[in-house]
Symmetry: C2
Amino acid sequence: MSLLVVGSVAFDCIETPHGFAEDVVGGSAVYFAVTASFFAPVKVVAIVGEDFGERQMRVFSHRPIDIEGIERVPGKTFRWRGKYRADDMANAQTLDTQLNVFENFSPKIPASYLDSAYLFLGNIHPTLQLHVREQLPACRLVALDTMNYWIKGTPEELKKTLAAVDLLVINEGEARMLSGTDNLRRSAAAILKMGPRTLVIKRGEFGACLFQGDSIFFAPGYPLEQVHDPTGAGDTFAGGFMGHLARSGDHSEASLRRALVYGSVMASFAVEEFGLHRLLRLTPKEIDARYREFKSMTHFDV
Amino acid sequence: MSLLVVGSVAFDCIETPHGFAEDVVGGSAVYFAVTASFFAPVKVVAIVGEDFGERQMRVFSHRPIDIEGIERVPGKTFRWRGKYRADDMANAQTLDTQLNVFENFSPKIPASYLDSAYLFLGNIHPTLQLHVREQLPACRLVALDTMNYWIKGTPEELKKTLAAVDLLVINEGEARMLSGTDNLRRSAAAILKMGPRTLVIKRGEFGACLFQGDSIFFAPGYPLEQVHDPTGAGDTFAGGFMGHLARSGDHSEASLRRALVYGSVMASFAVEEFGLHRLLRLTPKEIDARYREFKSMTHFDV
């Protein structure tokens, strides 16, 4: 079943202890779409400037990614410059942000996208997220990403959006801020009362967990020998998670657990190389092998 | 099969955001022995002063714990005073340490202990640990705990001891210091070259992992709604781990994985209340139920 993502397309400048990359294609919608396209057809809603040409568009080529919803307008594409320090690879230091055409992004959903069964609302203003969500009332599952900026800056708008989605994907720091508690279990319980039936909390190298009703599921982080570039890991995680759901059409808890592992698998590949490099040359066989590795790393007998 | 522990017996004064306890019985050998005794008979080698009387000894009563090896000498028992802050429950601030009789502790192994099949060398001077290890050459499995103090202060002595044991149990910060690398996987590989065939790294609320050859196993931390007192969690973990091995007599990787989960189970109970309280009223039925909970929190289909 098809999957719609709304998010950013960007040029990233990235520095990590293992190298740097200038003006590489990035943004939440890109990482998400490339990742999810391994599992199911993806439709993208985003905005780019005139500097985002055919060459850049090639990241979407030869994959089941529909780019009709990528609007090109006069001006420059969103630009982000960030740096990761060896002692804190989990958190980027933002050195520069130029919103450019993204500043006035008002997502336009092409008519051909309106029957999408799955929707991922990337990290944009919660009111825009809600507006998109309302245009797809028949969606089977709507998932939301957000960040500290909106939790602090637009809490009322975010609350309304949260009440209108099925699933929230955030990191542990954001979960603490949103819930007002440091304790994982109480934090999750508080957030599940805000609307979403399912909550995914990402814990960086410590993995991810899934909360639904009284049930909790943990997946570890994949133990890489080296993280080259964490940029896009969160959106890649979401792409693997939603991709699995869209491919299977199954929202049972067992399937949500598998989705969490696929999200972890995909994120573990993304950070192995700079930018999109690893994802662009990834194969389904590699995905399956790492999924089985997650199983072997967590299995024990009762 | 019987299990021997060498470690400390102490009076602890503990302050956490949830309360405080004055002069409660603690120490690595105590937490370990009480925990492991749920699984197998335990023999304790430790030292106490004259202030450690019959009343205090009662923590060992009505359990398969042999206290012949607890030496009572003139002077005062080891005393520790520590505090945990709400924003850092994982790390105790030590407010006061009085080694007292523990300062000149030279472990004496009673003749009746020499056939112990399993040995846990609690966190004491590595040369003392080695000396004990050498007195039990026929031991089936020897496990070692250590800490930053010895890693920094007596690295050569520690290396010799590491080369003489089967298994090392340390926390992630200690593993980094010992290996000289921050990366979990490379850190583990470096430590496995130092001698132990098996390595357990404890990650506090993020769980624990087991390394052996190329195999890695992860168990999550149990998601408690509140941690009342983390004191003794590490020794309790080791007690559950070694207790399972001694009970089963099975050192296969599958059994080591179960041991890691039993360690996690026991540690999760220990921190629910102050000092030994929770462990002293724990039942085997509760242990089994939580073990199954760990399974349900980590299971997914391939």
